[in-house]
Subunit: 209 residues, 6 copies
Amino acid sequence: MYLPFFFVLTLLVSLHSATAGDYCVADLKQPEGPSGYSCKTPAKVTVDDFVFHGLATVGNTSNIIKAAVTPAFSAQFPGVNGLGLSIARLDIAAGGVIPMHTHPGGSEVLVVIQGCIKAGFIDSANDVYVKTLNRGDVMVFPQGLLHFQINAGKYPAIAFVSFSSPSPGLQITDFAFFANGLPTELVTGTTFIPGDVVKKLKAVLGGKN
Amino acid sequence: MYLPFFFVLTLLVSLHSATAGDYCVADLKQPEGPSGYSCKTPAKVTVDDFVFHGLATVGNTSNIIKAAVTPAFSAQFPGVNGLGLSIARLDIAAGGVIPMHTHPGGSEVLVVIQGCIKAGFIDSANDVYVKTLNRGDVMVFPQGLLHFQINAGKYPAIAFVSFSSPSPGLQITDFAFFANGLPTELVTGTTFIPGDVVKKLKAVLGGKN
Amino acid sequence: MYLPFFFVLTLLVSLHSATAGDYCVADLKQPEGPSGYSCKTPAKVTVDDFVFHGLATVGNTSNIIKAAVTPAFSAQFPGVNGLGLSIARLDIAAGGVIPMHTHPGGSEVLVVIQGCIKAGFIDSANDVYVKTLNRGDVMVFPQGLLHFQINAGKYPAIAFVSFSSPSPGLQITDFAFFANGLPTELVTGTTFIPGDVVKKLKAVLGGKN
Amino acid sequence: MYLPFFFVLTLLVSLHSATAGDYCVADLKQPEGPSGYSCKTPAKVTVDDFVFHGLATVGNTSNIIKAAVTPAFSAQFPGVNGLGLSIARLDIAAGGVIPMHTHPGGSEVLVVIQGCIKAGFIDSANDVYVKTLNRGDVMVFPQGLLHFQINAGKYPAIAFVSFSSPSPGLQITDFAFFANGLPTELVTGTTFIPGDVVKKLKAVLGGKN
Amino acid sequence: MYLPFFFVLTLLVSLHSATAGDYCVADLKQPEGPSGYSCKTPAKVTVDDFVFHGLATVGNTSNIIKAAVTPAFSAQFPGVNGLGLSIARLDIAAGGVIPMHTHPGGSEVLVVIQGCIKAGFIDSANDVYVKTLNRGDVMVFPQGLLHFQINAGKYPAIAFVSFSSPSPGLQITDFAFFANGLPTELVTGTTFIPGDVVKKLKAVLGGKN
Amino acid sequence: MYLPFFFVLTLLVSLHSATAGDYCVADLKQPEGPSGYSCKTPAKVTVDDFVFHGLATVGNTSNIIKAAVTPAFSAQFPGVNGLGLSIARLDIAAGGVIPMHTHPGGSEVLVVIQGCIKAGFIDSANDVYVKTLNRGDVMVFPQGLLHFQINAGKYPAIAFVSFSSPSPGLQITDFAFFANGLPTELVTGTTFIPGDVVKKLKAVLGGKN
């Protein structure tokens, strides 16, 4: 009833080719393609490629938004490359906010680990969906739609957010509008935000006029 | 060398089942699913399901943005349902603008048919890509990224824009922020745009405080 | 510079069709298709469709595996339908284990919220990847591969696991082998587990011989 | 060490929701969508939904092409709906041919079971790839490209062909050109085949002028 | 209320990794994969990668088909690589024709810019869908199906055609049959077109017998 | 009516770029990505890249399972790379068995070529689907689910199995549990199979304790 040892070794060797496609740990030094990074040589893959410690530490919220986003996307966590998902940690101090933003490449699901978070998104019909979430509550934000998270309590809040892409992207509207060289008149012309407000926000966010 | 008539008829009949999957003209009255609308019964499909006349007419630009977007998405043009693409027409009068917006569900390629258009997009790293386009010029806007189009000439401009989805969506940032019931303090808190500016824009765009 | 009210209302109305594709909240009473459940009528969608409270409660671990899996897949959490992701909660009491299993339809990323978990997976080449994870540590399990989680500490452990599918499935090997009517001789013949062991496990797991 | 019976029953019941997505047996009476047919109610699914006997019989090659294609696509074999593959049987009598055709929706892999087949395809650069295949030989035909199979021996040939889609479609060029109401002048104008030849082939294939 | 400069710089730097996946401008010198070309180094990407001027010029229709197809696929327009769409320009002089052809890799949507075009396609059931299109009219051609466009007026016609793939391919039936080394007897045997006609068309199209 | 030679040559040359995407023959020496291997240079592609002879030979069943699986996945048959399908041959001697296993990356369709095979799979709800198949019978096994094949007759059986992926993977449960260094206590702890049985199977299959 038991398999002879010779058969086993033979099969094990031939099976190694069968692992192609099981996973594709990112090799950040090789070319990137439309579906992600090139794969690290299977022989060099270890369990540490599939484990990430970077979300275990509290993000630094000593900034004006009193919040931090710590991503474990494929660029930081090569093990998720090609697997269709990723994760990040949100730390939002009391009074803090993750400003209005989108993820161009993926949907997001958030779970509150600590504290109280008011979160919301706006759809293509401009309808607003806002909810105050407590520990253990989950909310989903469909791909590409504007959304935000605010600490709605008196203490630091923590959440984990997962994405339907190993590289969902992150476009913070304020940074897209005010933290670069997009001319003030173009910002005003395409957003109807008065030029003096644009210039103030540009000054703060490091943008040029 | 020629096929007998009997064989032909038999084969033609059995082939009708082979068309399943060729296309899926939207039946807007049946349930919709994650991949699009249900398919119209094949027997009722005609050539007119695959043709759309709605982009032949100039859009009405007698409004404050002096521009119009006329979509031929699956909701307007059922023939594109399930086929992974759609199209729309842009009319931008002199001085007009298609305000900053995103398409959450698809990339866009624009071709200028008439006039001169300054177009641009901003990526996740906040880098800006702006170009002035003339008749016949083409520009691509990657999925989910903020972009805009402005008439850069003295005469009406026309462009056709195609999408990598039959239902790419359209989220105009100003409308998402100011044309709904999202409270002013939430808008200000998540965008850093001063409350008085938010209230003014809300008043104009029909939003509530 | 501001838009006239009439324009605004017109645009808002026409935009409602543009939301098609933003999301597709599952209507569990309508037909299901290969890409998920049919969509709830947009007019009836509320913020509560996108929020799930079921993971806020500790799972009942008063069972022999001393563990519980609480899913928020599209069948439980209709808001994730069609969005390419879902989430679940793991509670593993001291001495508890999530037995060897696979998710046929998606990859998984796990983050430890409390306690200490030894987790591992085995790839197609039979290589083993095991790691002991502490609070905040993240591990990814590629689609379809056998994996497990064990409480490696003295206190209850909690983790959240996200998936690259709204309906990833869950196949626990022991249940597949022993908790149904698969005849003992077929189990033995296809797994080489001796018949007496199969019968004992069947008896415990409710399977028939 | 063994699980209590109560736990087992509870888990088994709750797991039934976890099967969503495992498969989606086609219910041909319900609406079809872009990704395939609606799913049969899980409770009514039996093993016979996953088994197909229709390819066990020799196809009728008593016709002018001396060949027969017997499909097991989702319309004939509901079990493959949503699973990304299907299969068909080719019978080609001595002197028979599967005429030049394409599958708009999928790639094909052919394995010769009996006899000798000369097969070939032409790519977008008009390069030709032809090979004579014997029993057990395999050839792949990339999606959408023109290809054919000819009996290259003296005895009946049999092959099985698999597709990367449950509904790959089948467009036989001769039937598309000559077996319908496409006016002769349009056929000639778009193919450069002389009108008298078009009319002859139309007459044989049941087309109208 | 404004962000401190230090925070801004830090965030901007870290965000650069977040652009992975926004786009993947083709680097034609690096390896190509199943999903497209490798990506150009982000640091070298400029706005000109997303703009294409090649469709602004009238195609040369001084040939026997009196027509020209000018593609902006990923090989010509690297900016569309990985974005799921592309575009091309059709110029059809009076009396000109785009002969019967397919795009193996994508669906097509056509918009008439100038003149009058009779266009049509044939589905897997051999049903014909033909329509005469005027300026601004749109028609969609499902993936992989045979279709054609003919100038139906007295003056030059122009159209833009978009595709649901950055590299949809183009297989002109006449060229596939007659413009290569496919032996005449194979062409006749698989298409039923008489050998003398095949030889004539081969002679004209540069094919060998 | 015929095309001038000059036009033909020009078009043929420009069309060569149009073949990008038709296929992507694997170049096993170049980097691999999430969607498969890099493509062989088109100029070096020959018909032999699309043909595979390795399934024409009977697999060696002189082993304890009295069975052999011969794969034609992208690692063995580069022509299927990127085309979404692959194929393999099963040889099962009398009394032989393909043990319980899964394919993490694809669904499978099996056709019996010779002999009699009892095949079955188990879904996420632990329901069992078993059927005895004869020559010409077809059965489908949904992606990622546990399944097996047993020779149910007195003579050698042969089957061809196709997959919805060029690299579906193969995880034999017994090998995953017992043919590697996964410690006995972990195997027992996660499968409830008694330690002495685990050790015996490990000894036979070459695993370490």
